[in-house]
């Protein structure tokens, strides 16, 4: 029996459903919240996408595009990226910091092979004062733009705070040396044991086309109490330990302060054999030090005495007596508690040594520098003919390694704009504002070097991917598996945190939503009712003859890498 079914062999390709369209889907790069939060402006979703594909080298190269210090930052960065991570709203934030260390440590550029070609030397020379993270970053990015850089460092080795201020159990020296060597391989000349003062700027134009000042905060803040001279400054102590002149101290120590420096001093003293008490004028939860560092310090046996302010240090036979005024909380002072004297309640503790770690300030020499907190607001001061730009802790509102790196990059971009052929001082301010705005990573603090040199990140559209923009149907809840984990060893200065292995790194990278970037997952083409998502050598694109603008692809895109835009009237 004949079977009657209705069928048609007329091709539907004549039906140009694209004519129905009034909105069209487009592939757009959006900024991920982690990248916007990163002071170095790293392209984090791209890095994690590459790690998940086991392309560790490529992932490292993506970091190097924006940050010369992946192994350093993978250890010491306070990772605001993880705080901003959209995945935190789903299960746990991606362990971005651990992944950075994993990628950074695998990145071998010891043969001088860098993933980018430096521009041809443009004949211009920049002097950089201070070989800390800010100055070295400025030199790194400037060299890539064709400038010849000469760094002047007062200490006998480069690294600044990274070398002298961060104890080896957090950042081993060979890790730092490796990354500095990479910067030097770009042709950067570092003059150590060469202290320059501010008078250098006045004559710098004779040999240089610009000056970057990244001297850091060289002046410890004083407590202004009687007997202060009996105490030891944190920066002096940490430097002595690094240089090996302090090897052991079995006595009792009191550390005054609540910042990272205080915690670093305390944990270092533990390793020298001391029993340590931190005295802080507010409560533990008000301490400016990273929470994780405080927890570790406590676990290593550091005692924290809160709500006490030192009023005097007195020599008491062989020992020191520290007189403390008790404090009480009375209201709020910004993020922290406001504290006042608790009547005249006092106590005193006895110790063999007292360390002062209440912070550092700009040396008088560089007091002219202004604090800046947003890109484009950094201004260049002119010394007659050449631009002088300040960076790092000297001017950053946020005193952190990664912020210093970000400021070095920003300065390099500014020099390039200011020293461009045909640039005129009058239009400088405008040109800097306009160009840096185009390179800003999302609504964040940092600039993208890739965007500046015309790379793909230039095409990022405004705004930052929000949690609601992610299509959660494509993700499964998975517990955070492995972060850099602690191994307590208080007998020396071996690194305390161990990194993650390859299996954990891939597992962790797979958890990343990859907010705002196309990972070629293919969901859009799977759902397109008109088979209008084409893939080929030129990447993903929409066949507009037939795309009727239904928007299903945009709705289904797991990671907000697509948008619908109105067709022109």
């Amino acid at each position: 029996m004949e079977i009657m079914v209705s069928r048609s062999s007329i091709t539907t390709t004549g039906n140009n459903t694209g004519a129905w369209r009034f909105v069209r889907p487009v592939y757009e790069r959006h900024t991920a919240p982690c990248s916007a939060a990163c002071p170095a402006g790293e392209d984090i979703p791209r890095i994690e996408a590459l790690v998940s594909e086991k392309k560790f080298k490529e992932a490292g190269e993506v970091i190097l595009m924006e940050n010369p210090f992946p192994s350093v930052c993978g250890r010491v960065c306070f990772h605001p990226c993880e705080t901003a991570c959209n995945r935190a709203g789903f299960d746990d934030a991606v362990a971005v910091n651990s992944l950075e260390r994993f990628v950074g440590d695998l990145l071998d550029t010891s043969d001088g092979s860098l993933p980018f070609e430096a521009k041809e030397k443009n004949g211009k020379r920049i002097a950089i004062i201070g070989a800390g993270p800010g100055g070295l970053s400025a030199a790194y990015f400037l060299s890539r733009l064709g400038y010849s850089c000469e760094v002047f460092e007062s200490e006998e080795k480069p690294g600044g705070l990274l070398r002298w201020g961060i104890p080896a159990y957090r950042l081993p020296e060979q890790v730092l040396d490796r990354e500095i060597k990479r910067i030097e391989s770009l042709g950067v000349k570092i003059n150590c044991s060469t202290r320059l003062d501010s008078s250098f700027i006045e004559t710098a134009n004779e040999s240089f086309d610009g000056v970057f000042v990244g001297t850091g905060l060289g002046s410890p803040i004083m407590m202004n109490i009687p007997g202060e001279e009996l105490g030891i400054g944190w920066e002096v102590f940490l430097k002595e330990v690094k240089k090996g002149t302090q090897k052991e101290f079995k006595g009792k120590a009191v550390v005054i302060g609540g910042g990272n420096a205080a915690v670093d001093v305390a944990r270092t003293l533990v390793r020298l054999g001391a029993s340590v008490t931190i005295a802080y004028r507010r409560r533990i939860e008000d301490m400016p030090a990273f929470g994780s560092e405080i927890e570790i310090a406590i676990s290593e046996g550091v005692e924290i005495l809160e709500l006490v302010a030192p009023v005097a240090i007195v020599q008491n036979a062989e020992q020191l007596s520290i007189e403390l005024q008790s404090m009480k909380v009375e209201g709020q002072d910004g993020q922290r508690a406001k504290v006042v004297n608790d009547g005249d309640k006092k106590k005193s503790i006895v110790a063999d040594r007292v360390y002062s770690a209440i912070g550092a300030d700009v040396e008088d020499e560089w007091k002219g520098a202004k604090t800046v907190s947003r890109p484009g607001n950094r201004s260049a001061l002119y010394n007659e003919k050449i631009p002088v730009i300040y960076g790092g802790d000297l001017v950053n509102a946020d005193k952190s390694v990664t912020s210093a790196i970000g400021s070095g990059k920003e300065a390099a971009i500014m020099f390039d704009i200011l020293l461009a052929e045909g640039g005129s001082k009058a239009g400088d301010e405008e040109a800097v504002k306009k160009t840096t705005a185009a390179c800003q990573v999302g609504d964040g603090q940092s600039l993208s070097f890739e965007a500046y040199i015309g790379g793909e990140r230039r095409n990022v559209v405004e705004g930052v991917v929000k949690f609601e923009d992610i299509n959660l149907n494509y993700f499964e809840k998975t517990a955070l598996k492995d972060k850099n984990s602690m191994k307590a060893d208080l007998n020396g200065f071996d690194e305390v945190e161990s990194g993650i292995d390859e299996v954990s790194a891939i597992y962790e990278a797979v958890r990343c939503f990859n907010c705002g970037i196309c990972t070629d997952c293919g969901i859009c083409s799977l759902f397109c009712p008109e088979l209008s998502v084409l893939t080929g050598n030129e990447g993903r694109r929409i066949e507009l003859e037939y795309c009727k603008g239904c928007g299903i692809c945009v709705c289904e895109c797991p990671r907000a890498a697509m948008s619908l835009v109105k067709e022109a009237e």
Partner: protein, 384 residues
Amino acid sequence: MKKVIEGSHGVSEAVRLANVKVMSAYPITPQTHIVEALSEYCEEGLMDAKFINVESEHSAMAAVIGASSGGVRTFTATSSHGLALMHELLHWASGARLPIVMAEVNRALGPGWNIWMDQTDSLAQRDTGWIQLYCEDGQEVLDTTLMAFRLAETVNLPVMVVLDAFFLSHTFEVIDVPDQETVNEFLPEFKPSVCLDQDNPFAMGQMAPPPFYMEMRHNIQQAMMSVHDAYEKIEDEFDNIFGNRYGKLDAMLCEDADVVLVMAGTAASTARTVVSALRKKGVKAGLVKIRMFRPFPVAEMREALKNARMVAVVDRNCSFGVGGIFAQEIRAALSGTESRQKVAGFITGLGGRDVTPEILEEIYEAAQKMEDAPDEAIWVGLNN
């Protein structure tokens, strides 16, 4: 090989042996065990098939329609609300002449929620163009499923294999599971009569305006009527290979019966013992088990009932405002005969309530006492 397995797995085993290539289903009690086993067979590599997980029965039927249009042997299973949700696509499957086989486990529709045995779900789909075959026990379930593929592929219409919730789906019985070689002999590789062709592309299910639509419907009706012959031939072949046959209906002791009980499903087993017991007492009881419901075996029904004084139809379903659905169908079938037997409708055993020997005896006695069949169905075993 004889195995002690539940009715659901009688279906699963048959589907495995039928070398189905694409399955799609959405779980619903009491059907779930069928597809659960099949998904495991796929996972374990016992079947070279694709199991498509979907979010609803509507999608499950759509998925097998798609796969069947692509020219492979397909299967799905559902029950109750799942079947109701498929309704639109049941029409599509038959209209597109796709030989899909589906196991349908008879379950009540809510509200109130009820997961137990009731026939209204499948009978409510009687006009969708699906062949419907009702089963009594586990072996019949396995055998019917194997035959269903042959039948569907012969006449190009979809087949529903219907089994009672729990009484059959979840009851363990001895089932003889044939070996693959023997099944292959009965059920060769599927060769589709209508399917998409990449080398000669065309679209299926296009617009059929007034000059064509009616012819297409007539064609389906003809195909449905051709099932009668096709089924007989297939069952002969099946009998030759496996030694089992079931008929379109099963008539027992009808030749000289005064009252003939008629029903479908597992209640027929209970009725057999009741009829045998009545016969021992000298009561001339008879029994017809309905096996094929679509197409309706009019000729066989007339033949089986021709000597009966009274026909008592036991419906585990109700078409509200008329009564039992099997009773209606039988009345319609007998209306064209000279003798026009009287048909009394009885409704019982809804929503999983047991149809006990006592209930059937009560029905039998009531029918025996009747001179004329009442217009309205009699509800048996009500608690109020």
